[in-house]
Point group: C2
Chain length 212, copies 2
DNA sequence: CCATGCAGTTAACAACTGTTCTCTGTAATT
DNA sequence: AATTACAGAGAACAGTTGTTAACTGCATGG
């Protein structure tokens, strides 16, 4: 099925990926709206004009980064929310998954947290769409749970959004813990996990008593 | 008590405020990390070098904006959370207060949402501190409520953080509704209010069953 | 009333930006 | 084998940026 693409296309994609990687690196200490295309090409070691072969603008590159950061995350979400087990166990697993993801892709997480409300409209829009998809998917999984019997579609969606936002906040807090001095890292990470766990637990309690 | 400051100091503060206002306006369609000091002075109609009489850098100006946006909000938070009445009534009032605030100071709200995770470290730090203060204050008010009998200090604080984050998310959603086309504005605002109310209600339910 | 302090101005700087046009080498197609 | 397509290079453009220095005018304090 997968066509092995020629030397030419392969090299192009390589450069494109290098541009994305360099941009993601530069965005650790600034926002997308201040990222210059010359800055990016300089970091890759390529002529400024080469940028235009891949992206119309840095905003365009930003949209591509959103896809890279969130696009591949949907299956992970689905399986995590849907896995069986008591709710306490599910919470622990979710928090741990978030921690692991932040550990593995800190720059991606930072980028999403930063640009979700950032200064570049198309990027905000792209993130909004992806998060709306996440909420839909979480809703679909919640609907399968017997606890959701008697729930409105609207109520399921509002709960899903609550979960998604909560996960994002937690991810961002894990990131802050990672960025701090190494001595405190372990303790701060543990603390974030503990607080997030209890918040999820409290939301879960509210969920179980929703129809009272 | 209040010393009427001379002509000179008054004019200085006027220019300073003009710089802050101009910056806030320019930040509606970009992030602080891309805001140039020339851009700001040009908008005010003042020489670029005049900027240095008031701020060391745009980052410094950003910190001042945080103070302006959040500093005066603490009393409002306290009174809102602490007012008596049944919890349903309290939720409605809180949501309405948020809606009103976003309506009155949209640029401030946008600035905080944008720069909370933005590219300028000192500004992030300043926002973090203010929000931590909010959480503390909410905690203090929660502690007075009889529902909080038997709660750990830690648990009260984790709930307070949940509330604060939830309020920020709601504010940001109200803002998005405001920014959209006018035809949909009223409906979207109503929708945001409705969802936020139910989320608060669910969290409130979780709160009441926390000690089960 | 005069000397000082200081908000704001003017001019200049080196460095940087996005974008255009022209060119080159080579992979892909015929 | 000859032709085409196209990723990337190179040079030049007009504008922009932050920061410096030396200045001017005027409110303020002695």
């Amino acid at each position: 099925m997968s066509h092995t693409l020629g030397i030419r296309q392969a090299q192009k994609q390589k450069t494109r990926q290098a541009l994305l990687d360099a941009a993601l690196g530069l965005l650790e200490e600034q926002s997308l709206s201040s990222l210059g295309l010359r800055e990016v090409t300089r970091a890759v070691g390529v002529a400024p004009t080469a940028f235009y072969r891949h992206f119309r603008s840095t905003a365009d590159l930003g949209v591509a980064l959103v896809e890279e950061a969130l696009g591949s995350l949907h299956p992970m979400i689905r399986t995590t929310v849907s896995t069986t087990g008591d709710s306490e166990e599910r919470i622990t697993r979710t928090i741990e998954l978030i921690a692991r993801h932040v550990d593995g892709y800190p720059a991606h997480v930072r980028f999403i947290a930063r640009e979700r409300h950032g200064g570049v409209q198309p990027v905000r829009e792209a993130i909004r769409e992806q998060l709306a998809r996440f909420a839909q998917e979480v809703k679909d999984e919640l609907a399968k749970d017997p606890v959701s019997a008697g729930w409105t579609e609207d109520d399921l969606l509002m709960l899903a959004h609550l979960y998604v936002d909560q996960m994002l906040i937690t991810a961002s807090l894990f990131l802050e813990a990672l960025e701090g001095p190494e001595r405190e890292r372990e303790e701060r990470t543990r603390h974030v996990a503990q607080v997030a766990t209890r918040q999820m637990r409290l939301i879960g309690l509210g969920r179980h008593h929703w129809l009272d």
